[in-house]
Symmetry: C2
DNA sequence: GTAGCGGTGGCAACCGATTGACAAAAATTG
DNA sequence: CAATTTTTGTCAATCGGTTGCCACCGCTAC
């Protein structure tokens, strides 16, 4: 059967297998790199490459398809053959080839995560959360960054789409429409932004903001400044609205100030505007701004919180290293990452709603940078 | 030939192609999910799934293999066909299927990175460096963590090995032998540890340590304590040796103290031993230990640096948030990550030595936590 | 005794791209 | 203009799993 006894060339393609006794054509030793004299000792599989289901099949004396079933469809084969195959697999130290599996099925056991800027510590916790939940379910995390550019982001997303089962977009910069287009292809979850028709994980900012404003009001502050983040940031808008609402409720005055960039440097630059505003308490779009602001104010001889209270946002790593430690509205970053991954996994397996917003809780963490005014 | 004269079905598989006129078997409309009545309108490729080289071939009127060559082997096909194919590809919005490519070739355009603990900020910069260089060369980064366990680490590494072209191990916890075994399979680069016979990227600790010790000596310190990291940490050992050598050279006394864990908490716990040691200056295995130590000493009313100088290691994010800001021996973390990726890419393409140690430079960053003793 | 039936296992067709071998066409040369 | 070399394109096999369909097996039931 399938005698490829041809001296060279003409490999007798798929010769008619006499139905009953023809073994698999794999029997034929036609090594891929026949040109390279690597001399593959056939049968023992010692050379490059790992064991395949065909090897297992040979050892266990069954058909490859049976091996495939035994290994992925529990209950589809008899316990006896199951054991036989499992033993053979263990003996050969078998591991499935993810690519070979992905090709026909499309399943890759891989989740993609795109962050706007790996440099930004806010994303550290999101990455952590995502990686750890993914790992628990035996999914691998693929990480990419968009360098704060909407174009790069879209390109990166498209590239990742090909290799992952689902995609997580953390604080995406691209259009709502682009996101929806992506989501039509494969499951997508967005963190820190609401997009109609797409699964989103957004922290409930209002609780933490309410706590912060009430705390400031209780300490006698009357005018509160909010240092905003980048204009494209959906979150920045929400936080400002939250601050306004909470101030209205507590009958405080709220003013909005802009920042050049949401970094320590940006915080430093905002100091002048803050002082000019006459506010005695400041909430900033994120912790980095708060830290920069505090450094600059302190350098100018202003007491924190004696003369001005500062409250940040997020509670990033290091927020408690400052002197005084930073009071901040903690966003459940790690949980958001984790929730996003869970949601994605749920869709991939159980199946869930197509559109849903998860509300994680934010809370005020009172440290040293906020407090009563000290009149001297 | 091949008469499998089954009564019905029988899609005439791989019918002997009369060499000259038989069209490709793909022509036959036997959709995969024939059971699901999805009614794939044949030819226009509008349903699920993306365009393939077969679609391009059909549009351009050439053979699929020609398409493959046009798209990956520059110069192998004529400019005319090249253009024809590229246009068709663009028109169909074609993207290669990475799995289909990986299956025969083994190339995945993916790099794996395993870190001991995603929680540890030291790794953030390594991740950044790796991701950015990988991205520049159009490689994707796959991230995994080993939860500080040698066993998990090895398992994770084995899992990743299947999907990546090369692997980067940041501060690995596993055996030298296990690492070498991994390296036999695919290119491996180790960061922050030297393993005989494996490519390594290790910072040259001595320069920074020398600067630190000389600086302390210049400020009149005579006895220096080193708070060590985990016993399994190769780096911790090297740093202690460096401190000893530098102290010998400057004729200072060096004592080694142990820590329970390399975290802020561990630093706090080390405060007692530090005070008991009688040293007036401390170097710690990493910044986290330094920060915890400083917090605890300050809480006990000790002046930093007036009564005791503290020097950390690494210069992680946030090291300059403290009051006083932390003096530290900066390790080129980001560059290490980047170098590791570059090295890997070099092996995968150009080819380089099999064993090589890259020495990146460390340097002292003087901030506020070190200085002269203030006798009162 | 035979029809009916659920449980098992085998066959072969895929998934989409790559590549060695080779043939046809084109370009070069004598 | 024929002989030879170089391009250029085609064929078919292959990577390693997955899966629809069918055949066969041993049982029970009528």
């Amino acid at each position: 059967m399938t005698e490829l006894a041809k001296p060279d060339s003409v490999p007798t393609p798929r010769e008619a297998p006499t139905p009953r006794e023809a073994p698999t054509p794999r029997e034929a030793p036609t090594p891929r790199g026949a040109s390279t004299p690597r001399e593959a000792k056939n049968g023992a599989r010692e050379g490059r490459g790992n064991a395949t289901i065909y090897d297992i099949a040979k050892v266990a004396g069954v058909n490859p398809s049976t091996v495939s079933r035994a290994l992925s469809k529990p209950g589809r084969v008899s316990v006896k053959t199951q054991k036989l195959i499992e033993d053979a697999a263990a003996g050969l130290n078998y591991h499935v080839n993810p690519f070979a599996r992905a090709l026909p099925t499309g399943r890759t056991s891989t989740l993609g995560l795109i962050v706007a800027d790996i440099t930004n510590p806010t994303f550290f916790d999101i990455i952590r959360g995502t990686e750890s939940t993914a790992a628990v379910r035996d999914y691998t995390l693929v990480l990419a960054e968009s360098a704060e550019s909407a174009v790069t982001e879209l390109m990166t997303a498209r590239r990742l789409m090909a290799t992952v089962d689902g995609l997580i977009l953390a604080s995406p910069r691209m259009d709502d429409d682009d996101i929806r287009a992506l989501a039509r292809d494969k499951p997508v979850v967005v963190i820190n932004r609401e997009v109609e028709g797409v699964l989103c994980v957004v922290p409930d900012v209002n609780k933490g903001i309410g706590e912060a404003v009430r705390s400031l009001a209780a300490h006698g502050h009357q005018k509160i400044a909010f240092v905003a983040g980048p204009p494209q940031s959906w979150m920045s808008g929400r936080r400002w609205e939250g601050v306004q609402a909470a101030c209205d409720w507590s009958r405080l005055e709220a003013v909005r100030l802009e920042s050049t960039k949401p970094t320590i440097e940006g915080g430093r630059q905002a100091a002048r505007a803050v002082r000019a505003s006459g506010a005695t308490a400041v909430l900033t779009y994120n912790d980095l701004l708060a830290i920069g602001l505090m450094q600059e104010l302190q350098a100018a001889g202003i007491e924190v919180p004696g003369q001005i209270s500062i409250v940040g946002f997020d509670d990033i790593f290091g927020a408690d290293f400052t002197t005084p430690p930073l009071t901040t509205v903690r966003a459940p970053l790690r949980q958001s990452g984790s929730d996003a991954a869970k949601l994605l996994l749920q869709i991939l397996h159980g199946g869930a709603e197509d559109s849903f917003v998860v509300q994680a809780e934010s809370e005020l963490v009172i440290r040293g940078s906020s407090g009563p005014l000290v009149t001297r």
